[in-house]
């Protein structure tokens, strides 16, 4: 994270002195570094320190004029040659309060941009208010090159003195803290797809919520702030209030710090909607099916909501003068079909909790969600009493855990998780202690080895990639509807429009506040926005584009009551998701320790003892949804709707609160949320058409016909066909048909044998199950063998070709991503990100690009030629073998989680050699032939890439097996 400080010169005529700058290794600088910069005496540099403070007695006006002075002084200093401007709030006292550092920094940054002075000087911030990762991101994002958080450093020192921090000295604490900040900032940057600090600086990738537009235009130019809000005077008032506490007017003992209470509920802390009282009422009412107590619960929540916890709390429903008789309102049963539970993986929550939700949702005709952890195939078989534990929604997330052909075929909705509310843009981690035998089996992983979900889908870096995945999934199960889950942020509507154009059947807009998963605190609190805003924008943009008619809009994120559902409908949602509330009904008491495996009520733990304590029942969950639906009906009657369909998008039935008596909230203007674009009458405002997925044009229709004998009578079939790049996702519908008929077993090997000639389109052989073999003479594009699920893929250059196969590219990027089993033999070089998240497939290839085998957890990969950089990053399972021709492979391997070894024994050597021999037979590979001919030489060049975790677990298993052996034989 190094960066350079100092003035820029003329970009157009570079000179040697254009690089006259000071290089710093980190944007977080300690007091020593700051002193160096403050006192610099070096040709080309001059620094000036300017105070960020204002006189409290002058209130908002004082802050305004202090900022103006600051900007003018800074401008004058730069004009007279200052190249480093240090903004400092060290000088606060009884009379002066600090100007919020972000306000001063961004305000000055924009002032200097406007004045044409900005690149002549660097901004450095010496501040007492920065402490969270989010704070540093903001300061950098609005123009600071370096930050000295002196008070945070002093606080650490003080914490050591007070015994709040033990076993660590100040220097180390500061180092750790700085390191954590840097890591956090990097993470936030990467969530935005940004790789250098330099590009992040001043990129202002933030949205303001609740700030006045004029205020934002002045100090944060071009930052979106869509519902207005407070301005400088209110910000000054809040600053003064804090200052008053620190400098009380009458001499008294300084009070202790506030508790805060943002992260955990406290009697004297920040207000939480779910607190002991509401949790109790909710659990009691759903367990006893007591609608009266339930109404008390929703009263409490709704009034808390109105007491300024949420945006929907600021809205009022307009009741009709003549309500509809409640008997005429759509029944509870049909409303409940619109309910879904949120994506919580088996792994993050216990088997008991997960299955309770599934059974309950299946009973009411709603939808439960697998989450990203796969699903135990045992759950596809209905229980004797008729209950089903099969989740209707199968999620497909970045790690693709357990995403097999069977998993896909058994879904009635496939949900692509683009982001999650608790930590949008980030991946996740399941610590090793949560990965027991069952979870490991379901996720195709090794028990005891921690699992990483990469932040992005490696097959989606652009909207047309998402369109491709939607197409792939539709092929993998043409009967399932496809859904894309997004998290609310400014611009989400635009992405939703892209999603609609990419032919998704459903788009889910998730709010920022939901999320049960473990996430860094910064993400929980500071990323994403409330669903009300995201949903309102999505509905507006979809209608404006005349795309609303072809996509269902769903929303979730701390929906708690029937009123919440009604507001979601009026803002434009047809379906509604619940996660936290469903967990509370199942017994969760919001201990917020899900990430520690110590959940005392057996909900979010894998500990068998704690799981015993799980008391949730499907009936409770069913009760909850019945009561929600009943509440919805009551509101519908009052507003005057008979069906939900009539209600979708009817913003005219919402009013922004007439009497908001809160000094800050009165400044909000929610009317942009209620605005509707003017469109012609024929433009629909809810889903009325099906998407055209274009499956009728797929080559697979022909394959199905030609493979009829195999599908119906298991008779082996062979065929030969031409193929071209416009033929995408070839073999996948065929595969889904095999799986639908024959389950995870598939067909006997090579039952359906197809030979193609030409260039295959993207996702060739995606999710191909056992029994299908695709041979391709030619080449293929990206996502070859995506999610391979037991099938066999072989590709080799045309026989007429004269180029050397092992030196030429034959398949594209992201080959075998998320493969769970099967084989691939590739005679030629593959692109970037080969076999990422492979958890069981076997592959032979003659060369690969960067990031090979990233996050791999199983399977075997043999590379007969050169690999690119960053091989095996995050690899925790499976084994790779590389022929290290030039002896420099180690340079390109990421050794954080793997060791380089030589082959263990003759058995292993035989395994590798056999595979290479098969590769030769199947592809006619000259490279393989050459190696086999000269095996003695090449075996020496074979490097084995062994994940450390995997080795440890294998060794433990061996010991265990030996013990068992001893016991069996001597017992």
């Amino acid at each position: 994270m190094s960066t350079a400080l100092g003035p820029e010169r003329n970009l157009l005529q570079p000179k040697p002195e254009s690089c006259r700058m000071i290089k710093i290794l980190s944007p977080i600088i300690d007091n020593d570094d700051l002193a160096k910069l403050r006192n610099i005496s070096l040709a080309g540099f001059r620094s000036v320190t300017l105070p960020m403070r204002f006189k409290t007695s002058e209130g908002g006006e004082g802050m305004r004029s202090a900022l103006k002075d600051l900007f003018e002084t800074a401008g004058a200093a730069i004009r007279s040659g200052a190249t480093i401007v240090i903004l400092s709030d060290r000088q606060v006292d009884n009379d002066y309060a600090p100007i919020p550092s972000l306000l001063a920094t961004s305000g000055l940054h924009h002032h200097l941009v406007r004045e044409g002075l900005r690149t002549k000087a660097t901004l450095i911030v010496e501040t007492g208010d920065a402490r969270e990762v989010h704070h540093y991101c903001l300061l950098i994002g609005y123009g600071a090159s370096a930050i000295n958080p002196y008070l945070a450093f002093e606080t650490l020192d003080d914490m050591i003195r007070q015994g709040l921090l033990t076993g660590i000295d100040h220097r180390k604490a500061v180092n750790h803290y700085t390191k954590a900040v840097k890591k956090g900032v990097l993470k936030v940057m990467s969530k935005m797809g940004i790789s250098t600090l330099q590009s992040y600086r001043g990129a202002q990738i933030f949205e303001a919520i609740g700030l006045d537009q004029k205020f934002v235009d002045t100090y944060f130019t071009n930052t979106p702030s869509r519902i207005g809000g407070v301005g400088l005077d209110e910000i000054a008032a809040e600053t003064i209030e804090r200052h008053r506490r620190a400098f009380p007017s009458r001499p008294m003992r300084l009070p202790d710090l506030d508790w805060g209470g943002h992260y955990q509920w406290r009697q004297d802390g920040e207000y939480h909607m779910y607190n002991p009282e509401t949790i109790h009422k909710l659990q009691y009412s759903t367990r006893t099916s007591n609608y009266k107590v339930f109404k008390e619960y929703s009263e409490l929540i709704n009034s808390a909501s109105a007491r300024l916890c949420t945006l929907r709390g600021l809205m009022e429903l307009k009741f009709a003068d003549n309500p509809v008789p409640i008997e005429e309102v759509e029944p509870v049963e049909s409303i409940m079909k619109r309910f879904a539970t949120g994506a919580m993986s088996f792994g993050s929550i216990s088997k008991e909790a997960h299955e309770t939700l599934a059974i309950a949702m299946n009973r009411i005709g709603g939808r439960s969600n697998t989450g990203e952890g796969g699903e135990d195939p045992a759950r596809y078989i209905p229980d004797p009493n008729g209950d089903s534990r099969c989740s209707a929604i199968k999620q497909v997330a970045s790690a693709r855990f357990g995403v097999t052909s069977q998993y896909l075929v058994s879904a009635n909705e496939l949900q692509i998780k683009m982001a999650q509310g608790a930590k949008p843009g980030e991946g996740g981690q399941l610590p090793g202690h949560k990965v027991d035998e069952v979870i490991a089996r379901v996720r195709y992983a090794t028990p005891g080895v921690g699992l990483i979900s990469p932040p992005p889908h490696h097959d989606i870096y652009s909207i047309e990639d998402l369109a491709q995945l939607i197409y792939d999934l539709k092929n993998s199960n043409p009967r399932a509807r496809i859904s894309v889950k997004l998290v609310a942020e400014v611009g989400v509507g635009t992405i939703a429009a892209g999603v609609a154009k990419a032919h998704s059947d459903v788009v889910l807009i998730s709010g920022d506040s939901g999320g049960t998963g473990a996430s860094p605190l910064t993400s929980i609190k500071h990323a994403g926005i409330p669903w009300e805003l995201g949903l309102a924008e999505t509905h507006q943009v979809l209608v404006q584009n005349n795309l609303r008619s072809r996509i269902i809009v769903q929303t979730d994120g701390q929906l708690k009551t029937g009123r919440d559902v009604v507001i979601a409908a009026l803002l434009g949602a047809e379906e509604y998701g619940f996660a936290t509330s469903a967990l509370i009904v199942s017994g969760c008491i919001m201990m917020r320790v899900c990430h520690l495996n110590t959940c005392p009520v057996g909900v979010a733990t894998q500990d068998p003892v704690l799981r015993e304590k799980f008391t949730g029942k499907p009936e409770h969950v069913v009760n909850y949804f019945r009561m929600i639906a009943e509440e919805v009906r009551e509101f519908m009657a009052k507003i005057g709707f008979r069906t939900i369909d009539e209600m979708v998008g009817r913003r005219d039935k919402l009013d922004t609160r007439k009497a908001i008596d809160h000094w800050k909230a009165t400044k909000l203007d929610l009317s942009p949320m209620l605005e509707m674009p003017e469109v012609p009458a024929h433009v629909h405002v809810r889903r009325v058409h099906q998407q055209d997925h274009g499956l009728d044009k797929a080559l697979d229709n022909l394959l199905l016909e030609l493979a009829k004998d195999a599908l119906e009578y298991k008779k082996p079939v062979e065929m030969q066909l031409p193929i071209r790049n416009a033929n995408r996702t070839v073999g996948t519908i065929l595969g889904s048909e095999v799986t639908r008929r024959y389950g995870a077993e598939g067909l006997p090997d090579d039952s359906i044998n197809i030979r193609f000639t030409g260039s295959a389109g993207q996702s060739f052989g995606a999710f191909l199950p056992k029994g299908i073999s695709l041979m391709l003479e030619g080449d293929a594009n990206d996502y070859f063998g995506k999610g391979l699920s037991g099938g066999k893929l072989v590709v080799f250059p045309p026989t007429a070709a004269t180029f050397k196969a092992e030196e030429n590219i034959i398949v594209g990027n992201v080959v075998l991503y998320g493969a769970t089993s099967g084989e691939a033999f590739i005679r030629g070089v593959a692109g970037e990100r080969f076999a990422v998240r492979n958890s069981g497939a076997i592959a032979v290839v003659e060369g690969i690009g960067d990031h090979g085998c990233e996050y791999m957890t199983g399977g075997r990969v043999i590379v007969l030629g050169r690999t690119g950089r960053n091989f095996a990053a995050g690899m925790s399972g499976g084994i790779a073998y590389i022929v290290d021709q030039d002896g420099d492979f180690a340079e390109r391997c990421n050794l954080e989680m793997v060791d380089l070894e030589s082959l263990e024994d003759a058995q292993e050597e035989q395994f590798v050699r056999d595979l290479i021999a098969r590769h030769m037979r199947l592809t006619n590979s000259a490279r393989a032939q050459h190696m086999l001919d000269d095996w003695a030489q090449y075996r020496e060049k074979l490097v084995k890439i062994m994940p450390l975790d995997y080795r440890r677990v294998l060794a433990e298993k061996k010991v265990q097996a030996a013990k068992t052996y001893v016991m069996v034989h001597h017992g």
Binding site: A4, E8, R9, L11, P14, P16, C19, K23, L34, V92, P100, R118, T119, H134, L151, F153, E154, M159, R161, Y177, G184, S190, K191, G193, T196, I205, F206, A208, I209, N222, I235, L254, L257, E270, Y271, C309, G427, Y461, S462, I463, V490, T494, I495, G498, D512, S513, G515, T516, K525, H595, H662, P672, M673, G758, S759, F803, E832, G849, D850, E891
Partner: protein
């Protein structure tokens, strides 16, 4: 203009629109011009169609286009019909102009162009109405359809080289753009000509009958098929742009625009002298990320850098901490990092100035770019392989663009210049390492100075001033100081928004982080910056 993109309204803000797509080019390495190159590239376009999208109407594509070398013989013959004579190639430039349909404004726009050409001391030879057939396109695209005209400008002999002339045309265009937003130049050059619009791949040839004319020849052609996140037709946002065509996304756009603007005050160029002020602002706001990127490339090229040099500045490789990169290249990148920040995001960028053509890939290689070199001297590059049927025996080699790498064909030299040669030449053109050694100072090398002592007596008071809470200490900071990592929590948040909280939330809390939902990358990268 020529766009139905609505203004900011409700919660919608057009600045968050995205686009992406398929891109490709066909070139004859030796620079032999033929109609075949155009035929082939249009075939490539059709075979990339599935990477694009259509709006709410089945017959309105998101945009498609083609860039060619100036087809001299064809234009000469056409202009002759219009009774004006074109001088030899290189001595004139062609502007492909989108004009308003309304005849009054159209005349006004033409007058502005004529005046700007005269002011710059060049001669306007004549106008040609570009034939179009809008029968295949949808209503929404028709509603904002421009009139296409070609304007021909003769080079004043005092301009010695074609490069000088290109700069003059750039100046003329920028002056016009500053005068009116009613018109748009698809291209304005003595070397390249662009046909593009709200079309789908198979419509382009019907819409522009010129493209079906066998007299059209070029040694290179770039094609592009767009996928945008809206259904608002926008003729000017179709690719190719004047220098680049892009598949991907610039995630740092807002910062890049601001920084460019901030830098402009320092702009001086011997090539433009006082005229430089007429070129500002460099970035025309309101375009797409690709359009604005093109603005930046163009400025760097027009003020004297080569096209590959400009690309290396805007999309540098991950050089910091790279294990195997040569020092000369690292020095090049480090030096240039003092001049400007990267335009970051997934990108496969096709670049051409009409003489060289090539492509570069972002540092992480997040977009596909496959190429094929044939034995009879063609290079075909595209987002996918197999977009053109080439007999296997005619294939010399097949490759892909690698992360951060560039691939260039110089039709004048008649050869492919690979990444290492290209960058070696650029990196050693100036003694960058020496310049860095002499000028760049490391903070650690600066002399130390006394620092203020921590004042324990007042810590609590100052913590109060800055709104510290016990949670900040215990839940946030302690784990960071202990483990060097941010603390983890769960079960989301259900506390009020800052604007609804009565407990003096920190000013920081009024802001929410944005995140890229479709274009982010992994954190576990190689040891790059």
């Amino acid at each position: 203009m020529f766009s139905a993109l609505p203004p900011k309204q409700g919660l919608y803000d057009p600045q968050f629109e995205h686009d992406a797509c398929g891109v490709g080019f066909v070139v004859d390495i030796a620079g032999r011009k033929s109609n075949d190159i155009i035929r082939k590239s249009l075939q490539v376009l059709v075979n990339l169609q599935h990477r694009g999208a259509k709006g709410c109407e089945a017959n309105t594509g998101d945009g498609a286009g083609i860039l060619l070398q100036i087809p001299h013989e064809f234009l000469k013959a056409e202009c002759k019909k219009l009774r004006f004579e074109l001088p030899p190639p290189g001595n004139y430039g062609v502007g492909m102009v989108c004009l308003p349909r309304d005849s009054y404004t159209q005349r006004w726009c033409k007058e502005i162009i004529e005046a700007a050409v005269a002011r710059a001391g060049q001669k306007l030879l004549g106008w040609r109405d570009v034939p179009t057939d809008n029968s295949p396109i949808g209503e929404s695209a028709k509603a904002v359809e421009p009139v296409f005209k070609q304007v021909f400008i003769e080079r004043n002999p005092y301009l010695k080289t074609v490069d000088d002339f290109e700069r003059k045309l750039y100046l003329i265009r920028k002056r016009i753009e500053k005068t009116t937003a009613e018109l748009y130049f698809d291209s304005f050059s003595a070397r390249t000509l662009i046909y593009k619009g709200m079309l789908s791949a198979e419509q382009i040839e019907i819409y522009f009958p010129d493209l079906a004319d066998r007299r059209m020849v070029s040694a290179l052609a770039v094609v592009h098929q767009r996928f945008s996140t809206n259904t608002f037709p926008s003729w000017s946002l179709a690719h190719p742009f004047r220098y680049i065509s892009h598949n991907g996304e610039i995630n740092t756009l807002r910062g890049n625009i601001n920084w460019m603007k901030a830098r402009e005050t320092l702009f001086e160029s011997a090539l433009f002298g006082d005229d430089i002020k007429d070129l500002l602002p460099v970035i025309v706001e309101g375009g797409s990320d690709s359009a604005m990127f093109d603005n930046a490339v163009e400025m760097l090229v027009m003020t004297g850098r080569s096209l590959p040099h400009a690309m290396m500045m805007l999309i540098p490789e991950a050089w910091d901490g790279h294990e195997t990169m040569t020092d000369e290249k690292k020095a090049f990148y480090e030096y240039h990092s003092c001049l400007m920040e990267p335009w970051d995001g997934p990108a496969s960028m096709v670049l051409t100035d009409g003489v060289v053509i090539g492509a570069t890939l972002d540092r992480n290689g997040l977009r596909p770019s496959r190429y094929c070199v044939t034995k009879d001297g063609l290079v075909v590059m595209a987002s996918e392989v197999g977009v053109l049927d080439i007999p296997p025996e005619n294939i010399e080699r097949k490759g892909r663009l690698q992360p951060g790498k560039m691939f260039l064909i110089d039709t004048r030299e008649g050869r492919i210049i690979d990444d290492s040669e290209l960058k070696h030449n650029l990196a050693t053109a100036k003694p960058y390492r020496q310049w860095l050694n002499e000028n760049l100072v490391r903070l650690s090398d600066l002399p130390g100075h006394p620092v203020p002592e921590p004042d324990h007596a007042t810590v609590l008071r100052r913590q109060q001033v800055f709104g510290y809470t016990h949670e900040d200490l215990r839940i946030l900071m302690a784990p960071m100081a202990k483990n060097g990592e941010e603390a983890v929590g769960s079960m989301g948040t259900d506390t009020p928004l800052a604007v609804l909280s009565d407990r003096q939330p920190l000013f920081f809390n009024y802001f929410k982080q944005l995140f890229a939902q479709v274009t982010n990358r992994w954190t576990r990268s190689a040891k790059n910056s």
